[in-house]
Subunit: 278 residues, 2 copies
Amino acid sequence: MRVVRTPAEVRAELAGAERPLGLVPTMGALHAGHLALIRRARAENATVVASVFVNPLQFGPNEDFERYPRAFDSDVTQLRDAGVDLVYAPDVATMYPPGFTTAVDPGSVGERYEGALRPGHFRGVATVCTKLFATVRPERAYFGAKDAQQVAVLQRVVSDLDIGVELVVLPTVREPDGLALSSRNAYLDPGERAAAPALHRALDAIADAVRSGERDAQRAVARGRVELRPPLREAYLDVVDPRTFAPEAQIGAPALAIGSAWLGTTRLIDNEPIEARA
Amino acid sequence: MRVVRTPAEVRAELAGAERPLGLVPTMGALHAGHLALIRRARAENATVVASVFVNPLQFGPNEDFERYPRAFDSDVTQLRDAGVDLVYAPDVATMYPPGFTTAVDPGSVGERYEGALRPGHFRGVATVCTKLFATVRPERAYFGAKDAQQVAVLQRVVSDLDIGVELVVLPTVREPDGLALSSRNAYLDPGERAAAPALHRALDAIADAVRSGERDAQRAVARGRVELRPPLREAYLDVVDPRTFAPEAQIGAPALAIGSAWLGTTRLIDNEPIEARA
């Protein structure tokens, strides 16, 4: 496994690479969720590339870019053990040199929820992924379902810009108590960690309400909201169309329960697919 | 030569195509300037693709999208005669289907001059070219120097998004009296056509002033402005850095004289490189 730092090195390494090629974009600090993506990519492709880049464009000025967990040596070991062929780990000055001004704007799919709480976040995600797709030119790219709005944004961008990559989305990997794996879970103190699974319970309660026949989204959301007790503080809890991230008033198919809650200075996100039977 | 209408057809036609591959993006209504691009692409590449698409995203609501010259059958004949291998001529609904929301925003390079007179124009140019580059994946793409700010925008976007295409820029092709070839010249009535070369004379006068030692941009521009007499009405006349399209107060190298003038309801653009000798 080689580790390279520039688009030119990626192109040189991949000239003549066996196809299909799978890309797993990451911000490092790998957990079992990332490794599930790598395993799937390894199973489905002749060549597997992972990128490791903490993307400053997708962090707001008061967010956790500086303290975001970094574990590059351990990440490289895990990627090698998982059978990755090439790691692309550019530095910030390579990705955004002086004079860089271009942005990829995904439009309305990125405006609500995470987009409202993190202005510019999805422009940053769309821009960096467009760059990664242009550099690596994979047939498939792998993402976790936990970042559901990111997936919706990237499906929109890939389709709109004719990028020609298939996005493969794998189910959220969870701790035994239901907490979705996230590199940011490392920020939680023991008391916060113990309270954290309530976010997933809230989403499950929404999905249960719909399974029991509730079709009014706000009544279903109210059933979930009772789970979000202190120390959790709701950031948002809603039912959306998973492709557009437009809120649904009456729950149809497809639908997705989404939620975010603060624990101290950490904000967690999660989501749960809803099966609305006719 | 094949004519295809969708990204999937382009990919199928180009699978296994001999490399390098050159792309000539056009809006049709081909003139000798386009054919010079095609000839160069044919000379430098094993495979040549031309696109023909009048891009509504780069026209403002009160601009000439509807009446822009269209001559598809004649264009196809000329492209075939020039040795093009594949023509990509998508319709608007293929490029911008319902739900399309993504935009590529080039930033400051596209904000002044044409960008100020045509809000959204360079987002439209950047978006459609990013799509064409993603679909065709050329090693080289060919553009005319007449649209100098478009070239600066696309150099910025290609570099920023790691698109990995070399932009080849060919000199403006002119009528014997100096008028730059443009599909929009067809809009001019005989009196306007007779007056039109004054725009190029104005830019030449700026370049002459600099060759004669003038380094103050506004004094050089004033030397050009005297050429812009009625019926021409100045839209802008300036000296810029050709990479950033920032105005220059003191003329350094590189520098570009740029100008635009109205003739009736038609607005012409042109530019002239400036050689500032030390």
